[in-house]
């Protein structure tokens, strides 16, 4: 076996893969969140739809997105491999095992939490990501006045089977900026008008929260980045930013849309 094959088949190597993919997914969450904040804009989805187009068509981001898909798959597959190994390491269990006495609940249930998140991802991506790429999406035409950006005219273009090209141009004569884009915003707001869908999101974000409260800090431990000087910062980020702020902001989107749109 080559050095790398040996390294990554060792227990510590497998853990390294978990921590690196996990941290990458954490970074993605930040980017994803910032983009999705466009949903809160009251512009009929113009900014959000423009952002969606940018994210799916800008080449560097496209490359990163493939890394992202691979990360998700690798993170899940390695979790499965590690868990199987862990099961084998204790073939006969305890009749009485008091895990709550020595470790936080989240740390002992990363598999369950991860599975919830994975199921959520499948639902989430098939509804939005797959729809966006291959679904029959309506379009929307946005005409923004160049002199007064508040003056926006939105014209929905329902799907009728015909190809509609994405367009983003300035109509100097009319004094307007014109955007014709796939209307993902509509799909999103329609989805979030169903209470059970909102509930699914909220539960999944709770799972994400618990997953990250343990996971973010844990990734640094696995990498060996443990030092009394910066570990308090990592703990803070893990709990308050990744464990609370980010999942809360994500959960706020469906709730906001359900309540106010």
């Amino acid at each position: 076996m080559s050095n790398y094959a040996k390294t990554f088949s060792s227990s510590l190597g497998k853990k390294l893969i978990m921590s690196l993919t996990g941290l990458f997914l954490c970074i993605f969450l930040v980017v994803h969140l910032i983009g999705n904040l466009q949903l809160f804009k009251d512009d009929g989805g113009q900014a959000f739809n423009a952002y969606s187009y940018f994210m799916t068509h800008f080449p560097p981001i496209k490359i990163v997105s493939y890394i992202l898909y691979i990360s998700i798959i690798v993170h899940a597959v390695y979790a499965l491999i590690l868990t199987t190994g862990n099961r084998k390491a204790r073939p006969v269990g305890y009749a009485y095992y008091k895990g709550e006495a020595n470790s936080p609940w989240t740390s002992r249930n990363m598999g369950i939490l991860g599975t919830i998140i994975l199921i959520f991802l499948v639902v989430h991506m098939s509804n939005f990501w797959a729809q966006y790429h291959w679904g029959d999406l309506p379009h929307a035409r946005y005409e923004v006045s160049l002199t007064n950006p508040q003056d926006v005219v939105v014209t929905p273009i329902p799907f009728d089977g015909s190809e509609i090209a994405h367009a983003d141009y300035v109509d100097a004569q009319a004094g307007k900026q014109v955007l014709i884009a796939k209307d993902l915003y509509k799909i999103v707001t329609e989805s979030f008008s169903q209470w059970w869908y909102v509930l699914l999101y909220v539960i999944s974000m709770a799972a994400l929260s618990f997953h990250l409260i343990h996971g973010f800090r844990s990734a640094f431990q696995t990498l060996g980045w443990d030092n009394s000087k910066y570990i308090p910062l990592i703990r803070f980020l893990g709990v308050w930013v990744f464990g609370v702020l980010i999942p809360l902001a994500f959960a706020a989107m469906p709730i906001y849309i359900f309540l106010f749109r």
């Binding site: 862990n86 470790s103 844990s218």
Partner: protein, 250 residues
């Protein structure tokens, strides 16, 4: 005190084993947990029954031989002590106590509550040493070691090799044990020449023994009778990855 014990009985490694209930009567709160078992065993012997087998030796918390999983926790309900230092006043009169052996594929049960921890021996033999022969070493004061480093190495060196970390871990991982051994020598100047060779050899042996993978739950640290910190695990991870990915010569 009167107690009900549910004790794991297993004739040998091949036997399936089961929990058997025994009464423990007239127990003094001043008894240690093992002395309570002694009393129960004397009762069994008088009936010419096989007593409950369990490992123990020094009975003062340092040899690391005793190894009982008591009411769901290695070394019982109190923190920072071994089973032999646990006293019956930590239990309530009338309580039911479940006593099981360490559970791990790498620690097969020998009989009843005694398990085979030779896996730890082999990990030690793979690299838990500094290769110096007797004689021909420099004067002890020729190597100054900062007090903080010496103290930190000492903290790692307090490991008594009991296996509670493995027993506590939901994955039966031996990372705390191995990392404590790796850390002690990685911290000290004397351990530097073999630092990267050692960590690779010991981790490889640990994996070969069939221990589980660390998921950083911290259960090992919480249950360790010597309260060894999981920062040792981080240190070992760092050294291992460093050795594997960046150290050309190892």
């Amino acid at each position: 005190m009167n107690l009900t014990l549910k004790v794991w009985r297993q004739k040998n490694t091949e036997d399936k084993g089961k929990l058997v209930t025994y009464p423990a009567s007239d127990i003094s709160p001043d008894m240690s947990f093992l002395e309570m078992l002694d009393v129960v065993n004397e009762g069994l012997i008088k009936k010419n029954e096989d007593p409950i087998h369990f490992d123990h030796d020094c009975r003062e918390g340092i040899c690391g031989m005793c190894s009982l999983h008591i009411n769901g926790r290695p070394h019982g309900p109190k923190q920072g002590i071994t089973t032999c230092q646990l006293h019956m006043r930590s239990f309530k009169d009338g309580e039911t106590i479940v006593i099981e052996p360490w559970r791990a594929a790498a620690f097969p049960v020998i009989k009843d509550l005694a398990t085979n921890r030779e896996a730890f021996e082999r990990i030690q033999q793979a690299g838990g040493f500094i290769s110096v022969n007797t004689g021909g070493v420099p004067d002890a004061n020729e190597i100054p070691i900062p007090k903080v480093i010496a103290d930190e190495a000492f903290n790692s060196a307090t490991c008594i090799q009991c296996g509670a970390c493995v027993a506590a871990c939901k994955n039966a991982s031996a990372m705390l044990f191995v990392s404590a051994k790796v850390s002690q020598l990685a911290l000290l100047p004397q351990g530097q020449p073999e630092r990267y060779r050692r960590v690779q050899a010991m981790v490889a042996q640990m994996d070969a023994e069939g221990f589980g993978n660390c998921t950083n739950t911290g259960a090992c640290e919480a249950e360790c009778p010597k309260e060894i910190s999981i920062s040792n695990i981080a240190r070992m991870n760092r050294d291992y990855l460093n050795a594997k990915l960046f150290k050309d010569e190892y």
